[in-house]
Amino acid sequence: MAAVYPLTFAALLFSVGVYGLLSRRHAVLVLMSIELMLAAVTVNLVTFWAIAGDALLTGQVFALFVMAIGAAEIGVGLAIIMLIYRNRASVNIDDADLMRY
């Protein structure tokens, strides 16, 4: 199978994630965009493992690691969002500007 199929899919997911990250203002949507980018990274890792045929299965193992870290990130990220919502009654990231000025 040609390697360009999964790699292009990963590139598409990543750039869609970049667009969402930059353009949306709902904090949970920003987290979702980050998840899309992480998913793109795992697809790439597994694809590169499949190309290289590594005996230590590096790509797959790192894909699992990325997944675990992504889950941890979502846990902490959502906790922060809940805190902001509790204090500001808003999940708009433009509103969380207390540290900005």
Binding site: M1, A2, A3, V4, Y5, P6, L7, T8, F9, A11, L12, L13, F14, S15, V16, G17, V18, Y19, G20, L21, L22, S23, R25, H26, V28, L29, M32, S33, E35, L36, A39, T42, V46, T47, A50, I51, G53, L56, L57, Q60, V61, A63, L64, F65, M67, A68, G70, A71, A72, G75, V76, L78, A79, M82, L83, R88, A89, S90, N92, L98
Partner: protein
């Protein structure tokens, strides 16, 4: 075209379309549901590539836990039925330009470096992955365990209410607006809700 290529192409098209809908849908809950489709498509790609365990882990961790947590967060922050707020202060043209540049750059890179590369599909059993994971990768794996424990503690510390903070902020007699703008209770949930006016958002500034 071989069968794996057709399956890969189909999952890729479905997953990519769902990903586009995630970032363009006007309803945040719909976005989360499209994200489920994308993540399932990613699991499908893993299956085609022969990484069976990673695929099921993707379903267990992402679809079963992460998206459910995201939906949970959306509903706790009152996601209304119907469209909600859209673009942020960056607007839409700049992010689109950046994303397109990233995509074109990546595709050019892939085409030049991996254009002629082919993949020998092989199936890796969970047993083989486990043997590698707990022997060669044992130390990174344990470090990951520590990281997850830290994240768990961190999330609990951040989200936890302090003693005496109470379920809702106490109305402050000096600042009458503050009480009004405190997070509303669930009485009007999940009906269509107008966005709170911008000045009401400044609660504890």
């Amino acid at each position: 075209m071989s069968v794996p290529e057709i399956v890969m192409l189909a999952t890729g098209v479905v997953g990519g379309a769902a990903a586009l809908l995630v970032v363009t849908s006007r309803n945040v809950v719909h976005s989360a549901l499209y994200l489920v489709v994308t993540l399932l498509a990613v699991a499908g790609v893993f299956l085609v590539l022969g990484a069976e365990f990673v695929a099921w882990a993707q379903v267990l961790v992402y679809v079963g836990a992460v998206v459910v947590l995201l939906l949970f967060g959306l509903m706790l922050t009152r996601a209304p039925i119907g469209p909600t707020g859209q673009a942020n202060e960056l607007g839409r043209a700049l992010p689109l330009a950046v994303a397109l540049a990233v995509f074109v750059g990546l595709v050019a890179l892939i085409a030049t470096s991996f254009g002629g590369e082919t993949i020998e599909l092989e199936h890796v059993t969970p047993a083989a992955l486990g043997e590698v994971l707990y022997v060669a990768w044992a130390l990174p794996f344990m470090t990951l365990g520590f990281l997850l424990t830290l994240a768990l503690i961190g999330a609990v510390v951040i989200a936890r209410r302090e003693e005496g903070e109470g379920p809702l902020p106490e109305p402050d007699p000096d600042e009458p607006e503050a009480a009004e703008a405190s997070p509303p209770d669930s009485s009007s949930w999940p009906q269509r809700q107008p966005e709170p006016a911008p000045d009401e958002r400044e609660v504890s500034a």
